[in-house]
């Protein structure tokens, strides 16, 4: 009797082990499209069902809560579990209907009326309607929850209002007109009221949907749903059988049975795993690693894509903050140079951008002379000049600003002080460290003594935003959306990322005042051409006054296993998984691989 009991226990255990193992048994089959469902028929997409996709992550995600997340690893997963009302198609960079099948803008540009899809269900089968939308936006705008995204929904410090018109119609009212407001909806996943309302009312929402929450208590509208979380190792997602998109053959998406996110720890580990064929998709590759994979490509047989310039801009910024009363006399003394436009122009003229592109990005990048790079085709000011590097010109500028050179060739200012300053950069970013070393050499030709100080990333951030104890720093910004609106916080004189001079009560200079006006104006102008004119002028002002010395932007480099179909990476984040619902695994040997 005992033996039988033991045996049955063993069998049970064995079954459990099998279920938890690699076999992906029990994946829900996609539901057949129903009559009452208003599905999104994606044309021109075909694939086949089945298979898992493994993705290596540099860091482990911290949460599955879309309202409180703030790290890219969490976002990568949350984005696959959830869906937005209107999304930005990463490929076309235009907005596309998602959970809202259509929308109307009122004549004054302040009211948006969104028609929701009928018959859509959450991944637990519960129907979705306008209540979920109102509930979700209440969460994002709740001051107590303090979502990192909350600022985006505040216009002039006032929140937008969300009202339910009927079960499938929602109205958003903005305090004032806002250009390209429909782009705002991308990045605000709709959450299930039926699962989260209780916790919200109890004031425990911030703790909801942690990694340890059972999969049955998490549901979303994305192509996948949570299956299993193994701490320190992996997160497994499986198909959402109720997902609201179908392909051109009317088959419900996604094609894949599931996604496996493996946390590997570092960028290099990510490359090693991909090289070994243990992961299927890789993005945010640096040029060195990309070239390494290209070299080995014939053996690995992967599809590697160079998508051209990213939207990120790397730059050198001088500390122009008001330092009175901070006890930073040494820095304050140097600010006399930094404030001199000719000094900044001289540095701008001495920078070897070609060298940076070649040495830092292995020629997989572009030189920058402004905040909008060539990758942002809708908004770049093509008229901005791209002056060639000229040390002679730089010396002339310095001379006309009253600088001179002493006998040992060092640059000295009017009071005889030698020009010497430090450039701080994050030690974890090899690219920016290299830029700093190149810049140091460039500026030594002007007689400037520049010291490069690599610091841990948080220490850099602390110096920029808190203590202001630095001379100059090499940083990067951008990379989110192509639209100018996310740049508001950098260029508005009271913006939170107005790095060169934080916390200005009013614009410190005339050109900053003009930028303020233009940026605010473009935000309420709905016509693209007029907005473009204003943003062109902003770019011109920035290039003329050089609050940042722009350096270069890397190309977006991504790769996938040869078997991955519909792989269409884009220059907007998330670069590779934005169309995870369309990705599929080819049955072997149907397509030849190659570098595109």
């Amino acid at each position: 009797m005992k033996a039988i009991a033991l045996l049955s226990l063993l069998v049970c255990l064995l079954v459990c082990v099998c279920a938890a193992g690699t076999s992906f048994a029990g994946v829900p089959a996609p539901e057949n499209p129903g009559k009452n469902e208003e599905l999104d028929h994606v044309s021109g997409v075909a694939g086949q069902y089945g298979g898992l996709l493994t993705i290596g992550q540099r860091a482990e995600p911290k949460t599955l809560n879309p309202v409180t997340e703030s790290d890219s690893a969490s976002r990568e997963i949350i984005g696959r579990l959830n869906a937005d009302l209107i999304e930005i198609n990463r490929y076309t960079q235009n907005t596309a209907p998602a959970l809202a099948k259509s929308w109307k803008t009122s004549a004054d540009g302040r009211t948006f009326t969104l028609q929701l899809r009928k018959g859509v269900r959450f991944s637990d089968g519960h129907p979705f309607d306008a209540d979920d939308v109102v509930f979700s936006f209440a969460l994002y705008m709740d001051e107590a929850i303090d979502s990192p995204q909350r600022d985006l929904l505040m216009i002039d410090g006032k929140p937008m209002t969300v009202t339910k018109v009927d079960a499938y119609t929602v109205r958003f009212t903005l305090p004032r007109p806002y250009a390209a407001a429909e782009r705002l909806f991308d990045g605000f996943p709709i959450l299930p009221k039926h699962l989260l309302e209780k916790q919200y009312k109890e004031g425990k929402f911030a703790q909801a949907w942690s990694l340890n929450t059972p999969a049955s208590q998490i549901a979303g509208l994305g192509p996948f749903r949570l299956k299993q979380y193994v701490p320190g190792q992996q997160i497994v997602l499986e198909r959402n059988p109720y997902y609201w998109k179908t392909d051109s053959m009317d088959h419900r998406l996604p094609y894949l049975d599931g996604l496996v996110f493996v946390s590997v720890g570092s960028e290099d580990a990510q490359v090693l795993r991909f090289e070994a064929g243990e992961t299927d998709v890789i993005s945010r590759l640096n040029s060195d690693n990309y070239n390494l994979l290209v070299k080995e490509e014939p053996r690995a047989g992967s599809q590697l894509v160079d998508l051209g310039p990213s939207l990120e801009y790397n730059f050198l910024v001088f500390n122009l903050n008001d330092l009175s009363g901070k006890g930073l006399e040494a820095v304050a003394r140097k600010q006399a140079w930094f404030r001199d436009l000719k000094f900044r122009q001289a540095i701008n003229s001495a920078v070897d951008r070609e060298g940076i592109v070649r040495l830092v990005y292995g020629s997989r990048g572009s030189a920058l002379w402004g905040n909008v790079g060539p990758g942002n085709k809708h908004w770049v000011n093509q008229a901005l000049p791209h002056p060639k590097r000229s040390l002679e010109n730089a010396r002339q500028l310095l001379k006309s600003a009253g600088f001179s050179w002493n006998r040992s060739g060092q640059l000295v200012d009017k009071s005889g002080q030698t020009v010497e300053f430090t450039i701080v950069t994050s030690s974890s970013n090899a690219q920016r460290m290299k830029m700093a070393t190149l810049l140091q050499d460039d500026l030594s030709h002007l007689g400037m003594q520049v010291h490069v100080v690599p610091l841990e990333f948080r220490a850099v951030i602390d110096r920029i935003f808190q203590s202001f104890d630095y001379d100059a720093v090499i940083m990067g910004l951008g990379g989110g959306d192509a639209d100018p609106n996310p740049e508001m916080n950098v260029w508005m004189s009271n913006g939170t990322s107005h790095l060169w001079n934080l916390g200005e009560k009013q614009p410190a200079t005339a050109w900053e005042r003009e930028i303020d006006q233009l940026m605010q104006q473009q935000m309420v102008t709905l016509d693209y051409r007029k907005r473009k004119q204003m943003y062109d002028r902003v770019q011109q002002l920035i290039a003329d006054n050089l609050p940042f010395i722009f350096l270069a932007t890397p190309n977006i480099l991504a790769g996938a296993d040869a078997r991955v179909g519909n792989f269409r990476p884009a220059v907007l984040d998330p670069y590779t998984l934005w169309n995870a619902d369309e990705l599929y695994i080819r049955s072997s040997g149907t397509q030849s691989a190659g570098v595109r």
Partner: protein, 345 residues
């Protein structure tokens, strides 16, 4: 006995050979400006990650005693030799200026190649800087840091060890308690903390001083314990007791009888410590606590290899590791030989 004497002679020859080899190595590092063809900070931006230049001796017309090279030309991701024009390697050429031994301004280099071509014996790094020149110049900092820190350790360690061992009692207990404290400190975290308190930019000279003090500070405790052990056993010898009985002062007894006992240990320890401290400098620079760019040291040169793609693609950047290995092995062999020589005495 003849066998023993033969052994002693062999050991002596070995010691002489090693000291000679080390002297040559240190002389080369001391004359870095002369031996290296280029300024170690000079960037050749057209030649990032160029592989070592090949020295050719044989061409179509046969064998030549005078080596020559071909220029590298970029080809795809890497480089290839442009075989159209050979460039002879020249000796005693004029090139980048430097100060010889900190005294003499000169621009004479042991070897070089006609402008505008370059010879990279050990290839170039990410900025097209000559790795050979950087290894030689970097040795100045790394090896000097090792030697100076060793001297520091020897002084502090032997002083504390002798005092503790000779006087004993509460002095001994206090001093040995301190050494235990030093031995148990988590040094790496301590150092990272120290770096956070330093000003943003520390001049290379001060960094060097700091490095040596820090390394020496870490090491003295172990040496002090060893010396104390030797002194403890020497103190109980009859001749020491006799000297004390005849009214010899502490200073006299220490100088005449105790200190000579520790010399052999100190000598061996020194030969062991130098390579270990060079490696410590490498480790500290690797963590960004050492000499900062663009000045080379073996440690900050190896720091570049933290990136997987660099490690796997550009093997010649391991040159500082090879230099460290060779130097260490020579020192360790010397320590070994010294040890066996002193044993056989």
């Amino acid at each position: 006995m003849p066998a023993e004497r033969r052994l002693a002679k062999g050991v002596r020859a070995k010691v002489a050979a090693l000291v000679g080899a080390l002297a040559i190595l240190h002389l080369a590092i001391l004359c870095a400006g002369f031996i290296s063809p280029y300024d170690p900070t000079m960037q050749n931006r057209e030649f990032p990650y160029a592989p070592p230049t090949r020295l050719h001796l044989i061409d179509a017309t046969g064998f030549h005693l005078h080596p020559y090279i071909y220029a590298w030309t970029p080809a795809g991701v890497g480089y290839q030799e442009d075989r159209t024009v050979p460039y002879p390697l020249r000796f005693f050429v004029r090139g980048d200026p430097y100060t010889f031994l900190g005294l003499l301004e000169t621009n004479l280099h042991l070897f070089g190649i006609d402008d505008p071509q370059k010879v990279f014996l050990l290839g170039t790094d990410a900025f097209g800087r000559d790795v050979f020149s950087r290894v030689i110049w970097g040795g100045q900092i790394s090896v000097a840091a090792g030697i100076v820190a060793t001297a520091f350790t020897l002084m502090v360690g032997s002083f504390v060890g002798v005092i503790a061992g000779y006087f004993g009692g509460w002095i001994d207990e206090t001093l040995m308690g301190t050494t235990e404290l030093f031995l148990s400190l988590p040094w790496l975290y301590f150092l990272l903390g120290v770096r956070a308190f330093l000003p943003l930019h520390v001049s290379p000279a001060r960094t060097f001083l700091l490095l040596t003090c820090v390394i020496g500070l870490i090491g003295w405790a172990r040496l002090a314990r060893i010396v104390r052990g030797v002194v403890l056993s020497a103190r109980t010898r009859n001749y020491v007791a006799a000297a004390q009985g005849f009214g010899g002062s502490h200073l006299y007894v220490l100088r005449r009888h105790i200190l000579p006992e520790t010399f052999s240990v100190l000598l061996t320890q020194a030969a062991l410590l130098v390579p270990r401290y060079i490696a410590a400098e490498v480790a500290l620079s690797f963590f960004g606590l050492g000499v900062s760019e663009p000045a080379p040291s073996w440690g900050n040169m190896l720091g570049e290899l933290q990136q997987y793609s660099v490690l796997i693609s550009y093997g010649w950047l391991l040159a500082p590791a090879a230099a460290l290995f060779v130097t260490s092995v020579m020192y360790f062999l010397l320590a070994d030989a010294l040890h066996s020589r002193l044993e056989s005495r």
